[in-house]
């Protein structure tokens, strides 16, 4: 007899985790949609943002004798602009040159960047597993038999907000429209006077800003090490593939599905959890690379 109430926990948590995964996937989807580049360093960049938050919320006190630690969510005020700038710089100085070299160059360079970031993080923060631990990190809403952690809800709400913001941005502002247009028909956009170089740089920058939010949420929910980047890259990839490219709502859906796979996989054990996630990604890739809601 399956106890329905014992399934409610993984169900709700899976949906909420979906918010986090959607956030991680959105950045990847944006870059992929606009410039057809799978940023294999994306996962590592998200974790980099997490480490920034970690530094700001513990390092300030310990290392620099400042009388406060920053709450991770508050630290987004600093981290978002930093990641935005980083993204802009990466596209402008590295990736744009890579496109001119050859078709494989951007992939290889992203791979190099991925390893650079992992090892920088290893150097500064060791392979030890870390977490973001503001005072509310373990608080939970208790609804009947369910314990729903506050941070899960925060991540989900953040995802909804960002989906909404991104959609409006892409539809209503000139820059957003230019980004959308470039993703749909690059040479026509060119002919409209769109400076595609700038569009790419902004798209990457925005992707990184979203990654910043994703990173903070990630650190609140999971523990992290410098080497977890690849895992989250694969999850993000799964999210994008399932949800379909170009659809922000699809990314949300994709995130929820991946979240559910993870929570239900977790009922077996943590190793099976990841194994199932990876198998789902491969199966979806093999069966329907354009996703469920994709163009």
């Amino acid at each position: 007899m399956i106890d329905i109430s014992s399934l409610a926990g993984p169900l709700v948590n899976g949906i909420l985790w979906g918010g986090l995964f959607a956030l991680i996937g959105m950045g990847l989807s944006l870059v992929f949609g606009v410039m057809n580049l799978i940023n294999v360093a994306h996962g590592d960049l998200v974790i980099l943002a997490t480490y920034f938050a970690f530094f700001l919320s513990t390092g300030l006190f310990m290392r620099y004798n400042l009388p406060f630690d920053m709450d991770p969510i508050l630290s987004l005020v600093i981290i978002i602009p930093v990641m935005f700038g980083l993204g802009y710089a990466i596209q402008k100085f590295l990736m744009s040159r890579a496109f001119k070299v050859s078709a494989e160059a951007p992939l290889i360079i992203a791979f190099g960047i991925s390893l650079i970031i992992q090892n920088v993080a290893l150097r500064f923060w060791t392979p030890m597993s870390r977490s973001l631990t503001p005072p509310y990190v373990l608080d939970a809403f208790v609804i009947g038999p369910l314990r729903i952690r506050v941070v899960y809800v925060i991540a989900f709400v953040a995802a909804l907000i960002i989906v909404f913001l991104l959609r409006e941005f892409l539809r209503r502002t000139y820059l957003g429209r230019a980004i959308s247009a470039t993703a749909q028909n690059k040479s026509a956009a060119h002919l409209m006077g769109v400076n595609t170089g700038r569009v790419y740089a902004f798209a990457f920058a925005i992707s990184m800003a979203v990654a910043a939010v994703a990173g903070v949420c990630l650190g609140l929910i999971f523990s992290f090490t410098p080497e977890k980047g690849i895992q989250f890259l694969i999850i993000a990839f799964g999210v994008v593939i399932i949800g379909g490219l170009g659809s922000m709502v699809g990314t949300l859906l994709g995130g929820i599905i991946m979240g559910l796979v993870m929570t239900f996989g977790g009922l077996i054990d943590t190793n099976w959890q990841m194994l199932l996630v990876y198998l789902v990604v491969i199966v979806v890739l093999a069966a329907r690379p354009q996703g469920i809601l994709g163009r």
């Binding site: 000139y174 429209r177 230019a178 959308s180 247009a181 749909q184 028909n185 409209m192 006077g193 170009g246």
Partner: protein, 256 residues
């Protein structure tokens, strides 16, 4: 205030017609696509207020020429001047700012955006943004169907409507010179006729037009002057009447 500015633009137009300085002047350009040479020593002129046709078959290099004018490609040799400025090495978005807009082959719509969004995107450049409202009114006047369908997704429009959309989008860019690549591809003759009629109306507004066509007869009907392009070289040029008299053209005219 309004009358003075109207007087001024009229004087400008008159001045340009009198000065005979061509709006667009292409001098002896060579253009390569990769290692393949697509254009050989091509020269061409378009004066303000003209409608000029570029006639040739698929492999003649017509699209390459338009893309070069628009800045998507750059000439390896030779010069392109627009309104007195050398634009040979400029980036496409800069060239759009100067007032050249291209309506590309194959419609080039943004399929997942609405008609209105497509049109608004046309006024992306700084020069066009300030005149967005007026230009939108003009576009709706030329192509009322676009106003009817303004909320629909661009990909749901028929071929003829899509062509009107991209023409309208080109107009939104507030151009001085419009480049049209194979406007009539895949469209019924009735629709083509109405499109060219709209083109004449657009010319009345003071916009210069350079269009590319495979159909010789149609081109000579609509253009003031024309150039014939074969395998990357200009083989014939002249006014529409002159060309109609030419032997070679007569052969093509009657469809050999």
């Amino acid at each position: 205030m309004l009358t003075i500015s109207l007087l001024w633009t009229n004087m400008e137009k008159r001045a340009q017609e009198i000065s005979q300085e061509p709006l667009l002047k292409i001098s002896n350009i060579d253009v390569f696509q990769g290692t393949f040479q697509a254009l050989w020593d091509v020269s061409l002129e378009v004066k303000a207020g003209e409608i000029v046709g570029l006639i040739g078959a698929n492999t003649s290099g017509k699209s390459t020429l338009l893309d070069t004018i628009s800045g998507l490609l750059h000439p390896a040799k030779g010069k392109i001047e627009f309104d007195g400025q050398d634009i040979s090495t400029m980036e496409p978005f800069h060239i759009v700012e100067l007032g050249i807009t291209q309506v590309p082959e194959g419609r080039g719509i943004f399929p997942d955006m609405s008609v209105l969004d497509n049109l608004i995107l046309g006024s992306y450049s700084k020069r066009a943004r300030s005149r967005k409202k007026e230009n939108l009114e003009n576009v709706y006047q030329h192509f009322p169907i676009l106003e009817t369908r303004k909320k629909q997704m661009a990909k749901t429009l028929s071929g003829g409507e899509q062509q009107m959309l991209v023409l309208g989008r080109g107009l939104m860019a507030d151009p001085k010179l419009m480049l049209l690549d194979e406007m009539s591809l895949g469209l019924a003759p009735i629709i083509i006729t109405s499109l060219y009629k709209a083109l004449q109306e657009i010319r009345e507004r003071g916009i210069t037009i350079l269009f590319v066509e495979q159909n010789v007869r149609r081109s000579l009907q609509e253009a003031d002057r024309a150039y014939i392009l074969e395998v990357g070289r200009v083989t014939l040029s002249g006014t529409a009447e002159e060309l109609r008299e030419e032997e070679e053209v007569k052969k093509a005219y009657f469809g050999v």
